[in-house]
């Protein structure tokens, strides 16, 4: 690791921190929107953006080795599959009350 790259890292950390604080402030403003579905969706998208910034710049995935990037990508991909299957199950499952009233004699 060269001295120049480490000095550049300080600038990258500073920029990332400013971006994270700005995104958190935006989330905070949105949280005042009250009972709004879109506010919740945008808040989660912002959370995803913040997570991406932390992973790429603070955790150095943007300049990490291929094996590390592959490991991280696999973890995120598996999490996405797990989340999608969970949500699909929730959205397509009939409630236990419905099932018992229809299925059982």
């Amino acid at each position: 690791v060269t001295e120049a790259s480490e000095k550049g890292a300080f600038r990258a950390y500073g920029t990332t921190w400013v971006a994270l604080i700005a995104l958190a402030a935006t989330s905070l403003v949105l949280s005042r929107a009250g009972d709004r579905q879109w506010a919740a969706t945008i808040a989660l998208v912002i959370a995803g953006l913040k997570a991406l910034l932390i992973a790429l710049f603070f955790m150095h995935l943007s300049r990490g080795r291929v094996s590390v990037r592959l490991g991280a990508f696999t973890a995120v991909a598996l999490l996405a599959v797990l989340s999608l299957l969970t949500v699909a199950d929730i959205l397509t499952r009939s409630s236990p009350v419905d099932a018992s009233s229809k299925g059982q004699p």
């Binding site: 950390y13 921190w17 989660l44 490991g71 999490l79 949500v87």
Partner: protein
């Protein structure tokens, strides 16, 4: 101080560090899976008991949750800077930044303690016989409260572990046992701290935003 020792199955020190780095990321992935199971549980119950979860979120300590978010995001910045300082050979700056990070972590736990104390006073805890849960006998609300303590409590345990790890590493930097030539133990400790921050980024909207349908 450098450490050129490596086990015989490694060709050199660099290869040892690369193997350790991959191992650390595998550990972080397993931690992410632990929390993702709880996120899935939250999503399931939030869908089933939307009104109760909305009421629960409306009664958490929003100001303290927001303050803790800014505290943790800033602590990640100081932790990353501590590592960069060590790599530049600035041990003193690294120790100061690590101390600052640990301080932020302690501040997070103090605010969390204030939050929990307030909730216990108001009867917002599993099995409460007075206050919030008794006044709102809503189906699903006790589940929200249980998940709130389970997930934020598990996260607080991780913050505590991070504080201990960074304190030990900071001591080692101070004593000169870690340096620009041997910085990877601090890199792994800082990676762990970033994961703790990353988890909180999602916990914040899940438990502290009163918008209907959060998470």
């Amino acid at each position: 101080m450098s450490d050129d020792r490596h086990a015989t199955h490694f060709a050199n020190r660099r290869q040892r560090e690369q193997a350790a780095e991959l191992g650390m990321w595998t550990f972080l992935a397993s931690e992410a899976l632990l929390f993702s199971g709880l996120f899935g549980l939250y999503a399931s119950y939030c869908t089933a008991y939307g009104a109760a979860f909305y009421l629960g979120r409306s009664n958490t300590a929003h100001a303290l949750g927001a303050a803790n978010t800014f505290v943790l995001l800033t602590s990640s910045f100081s932790a990353a800077s501590a590592l960069a300082s060590l790599r530049l050979g600035r041990r003193r700056a690294s120790v100061l930044l690590l101390s600052l990070t640990v301080g932020f972590g302690i501040a997070f736990l103090v605010l969390k303690g204030v939050e929990y104390t307030d909730h216990f006073r108001n009867g917002m805890y599993p099995g409460a016989k007075h206050g919030f849960l008794v006044e709102h006998p809503l189906r699903g609300l006790p589940i929200f409260v249980t998940l709130y303590y389970l997930m934020t409590g598990l996260h607080a345990l991780h913050v505590t572990a991070g504080i201990v790890v960074l304190s030990v590493l900071g001591f080692r930097v101070w004593r000169g046992r870690l340096s620009d030539r041997l910085a990877h133990p601090l890199e792994f400790g800082v990676l762990y701290w970033h994961l703790v921050d990353l988890v909180w980024v999602f916990l914040w909207p899940m438990f502290y935003f009163a918008a209907r349908g959060s998470a």
